[in-house]
Symmetry: C2
Subunit: 279 residues, 2 copies
């Protein structure tokens, strides 16, 4: 087991669920960490994290950082890149924890940060959002997809891998476009389905607190942060329609079969998906 | 707080997740409980539950019982009702823990058990099935929908309410047809959606172990017992097609909006479903 340790001075920009949890873990590891958020309430809340320093001005977080982690909604990132280029030490690496990888890489390149930017996507989170939902163990054991835009060198990748491993997460390299296509299926599709399922139940006048464990799990993502998802689907939504339609066609086929009294086909499918889940 | 206690002699018929968990809790409470399953392997496994007696012949479980709980798949129930009428004491109550309520009530009535049968549906369970998945706390705090067919009297309802309350569950009376309509929305719909979502992901060649927490939750029900669901949808599937089609239409509308670059409407919906979840 590799020891958890981070010695780099880290600036965490954005203190919601993802950034707040990062601040907590880094402070817990004794790493020198500084947090900043555009939201004054989140800054105040983050001041309760012992061992972390939370500052009122972005520049004060960036100055002296060895590494900078952007933990804001995707569309808030471009405006932060010029301040980073102007105020952070030239040798500092930059990453983000957004849910898509092609857009952050393109922004970093166009803002002159391509050679020191890698994009990270930790498969961790939850439907709760904001600093209040953050927790020290959010990244424990989480896979972190890591990709670069070509301008970054291997040494940078080693630094980022060491950073995530030091936090207790599992970095895995991927190509950004492949990552974003994969996420359309394993993340965006479940998010859209959960939300529309919740929409159907809400329209039927069913109270959420009456749901059993299965339906609660199926509508958990319907409690996610609208701003975060508006950004993800604005930037990455174009790859989703084909898969959404495939699912809609399957549901219509099931409706026809059930009307005909045929539940066998569903049971066969369930046998296959059960085997799929068990690997 | 009402004390958990069951003093009646209970026969548990079927020793999968539901029956096995009932056997464990009753034994844990010191209640005189006897279990039987048509599956010899499950009977052997249940013999490891200290304080419970597991027998090889159904008649031996029924004789001397004050109450009988059917915990088999729905379509296995009708064949058990004649043995119950012939072997159980005439004063013993009978219930089941199936997922639909109109079919068991109709079967009980047609087998001459209508005056001592109530149907129970505990909102507890999980995707794992079989005795190996059973656990002592499955029913703790669970809502149990309870309904009768008209021939049963109020005294029977009091006995069943006391039974479920004694187990730590929360019995709630409902009308069977209303229950089954509700379940089509809060249970069968999520089950079918989870399974077809898993079908899409499996067809795309995505390995289940690579999923993040959101997609894992969304495909958890896709690991459920095919036999149980074939029975539920064979008996209750006719009410589902309209709701399935409503969801399919919503997904197609979303596909059109995302193709047009409109993610705002989705964010608005997500704001509403988030508020719905929070009650």
């Amino acid at each position: 087991v590799r020891e958890r340790t981070v010695t780099a001075r880290i600036a965490v920009v954005g203190l919601g669920l993802m950034g707040g949890s990062l601040l907590r873990r880094l402070a817990d590891l004794g790493a020198p960490v500084t947090g900043w958020s555009p939201d004054g309430g989140e800054r105040d809340a983050a001041r309760g994290v012992s061992g972390a320093s939370t500052v009122d001005r972005l520049d004060d977080a960036l100055r002296g950082a060895d590494g900078i982690v952007l933990a804001t909604p995707l569309l808030a990132m471009p405006d932060l890149l010029d301040p980073i280029r102007n105020s952070a030490p030239p040798g500092a690496w930059v990453t983000d924890v957004g849910s898509l990888q092609e857009p952050p890489l393109a922004w970093a390149a166009s803002h002159g940060l391509g050679d020191r930017f890698l994009t990270s996507h930790p498969m961790a989170g939850g439907e709760a959002s904001g600093f209040a939902a953050s927790r020290v163990d959010l990244y424990d054991g989480a896979r972190v997809w890591l990709s670069g835009g070509g301008a970054a060198d291997a040494a940078l990748e080693v630094r980022l891998e060491r950073f995530w491993t030091g936090l207790g997460a599992h970095p895995t390299s991927i190509e950004a476009a492949a990552h974003d296509r994969l996420m359309a299926r394993v993340s965006h599709l479940p998010q859209v389905v959960s939300t529309h399922l919740a929409g159907v139940l809400a329209d039927e006048g069913i109270a959420a607190h009456t749901l059993g464990p299965g339906a609660r799990d199926m509508t958990r993502l319907a409690g996610s942060d609208p701003r975060m998802w508006e950004d993800i689907l604005t930037l990455g939504g174009a790859t989703l329609p084909a898969t959404l339609r495939a699912l809609a066609r399957r549901l219509e086929g099931e409706a026809l079969r059930l009307e005909a009294g045929n539940a066998e086909r569903f049971a066969e499918l369930l046998g296959r998906t059960r085997a799929w889940r068990e690997g």
